[in-house]
Symmetry: C2
Subunit: 204 residues, 2 copies
Amino acid sequence: MSQTARYHHGDLHATLLREAAVLLREQGIEGLSLRRLAERAGVSRTAPYHHFEDKNALLCALAEQGFRKLETLMEEEDLETEPVGGLRRFVHAYLRFASEDPEQYELMFGRTLWKTGRPTESLTRVAHGCFRRYIDLMYRPPLATRLPPGMDPLRLAQASWATLHGLSRLLLDGIYLNQDDMEAVSDQAVDLMIAGLRLGEDAT
Amino acid sequence: MSQTARYHHGDLHATLLREAAVLLREQGIEGLSLRRLAERAGVSRTAPYHHFEDKNALLCALAEQGFRKLETLMEEEDLETEPVGGLRRFVHAYLRFASEDPEQYELMFGRTLWKTGRPTESLTRVAHGCFRRYIDLMYRPPLATRLPPGMDPLRLAQASWATLHGLSRLLLDGIYLNQDDMEAVSDQAVDLMIAGLRLGEDAT
DNA sequence: CCGGGTATCTTGACAGTGTCAAGACAGTAT
DNA sequence: ATACTGTCTTGACACTGTCAAGATACCCGG
């Protein structure tokens, strides 16, 4: 054994996930084929099928990792003491998350899994947990207590997430936004939210 | 000739575009293969290559059709006499456009063309014309004259389009929005814009 | 210690994809 | 009529995900 090629890989499951993440980042979703992945892991074409049911299942696991990262990112930001500044920093952090690994973001939110593919039960749970955490921001102080009367926190959460998501997509797909504009546009987006929240009236 | 299979199709170019649109709508981008399309047009696998350089070129032509439709849709809405109501109707019209032919919208704005593929010069021109028309809305009355001082119309246009786009994507990819929520969420989005524009102050 | 049983990994094969190369046919202009 | 050009065809290649069968290594009860 030792250096020589072993029949059993040892820790293929983890290796596959790790190498898949690299391949995804460097080559994009289109470049992430099971065969290339297997070759990279030093294993035959069909070996991955003993650790993941499907290509779909592997991609779901990969996306799940992404959502966990996003979740920790959301926990770091403290909106309690500084609502407006915290919101602004969160928006920037979200966009940075999307633009630092665009292909991962695409996988997490794209149609590959949610529309064309079949999202794992596990992925669905983690993703929904992420949304819920965001929505909760609107239901708890300091935001909840400052919403204009009659404004539904759920709807506001959905609309503002949509803005974040739309900015990310336009940027990542390279449609009519580039990285240089991003700073200014995202600040504008925050201003829209703040105005909608009428949040600037008693805090900075 | 007449009923019997002719060697020359006659109008393959137009037929391909027409059938491709049908196939796209019914089967989605993933289901739109050149071979199936050729079969549907009653022609051999490689015949399309005499009318379109590439699969990419064909998809670009298809997306271009979509942008033309979107452009006429934008011209129909009259913001001059009724800014707020017109804006609300425009938002609904945009989302209806996206949800009536989701696969077309995906093709128009998705990564298939803009990131993975190479957008045709012609497609780029039409798409940018569409953006420009939208941006112009912010630079001309009645909107331009009512923007809060210091607000950049370009940034506002980009941010608000991002919101529209994000709503569409979340809805179409079936992530955490469904058609039933859409009405309420889009109204919320309009409210955000209006608040940002401080538009409700002198008109309804 | 040893014999099964099981998890893991392999090769072979199949249907599907986009695309290139070479040849067959039809219409058009000289 | 002859040459030319645009159109369409068949054949082939490399690539994909996935299934079926067989080979190998490990583990656990006897």
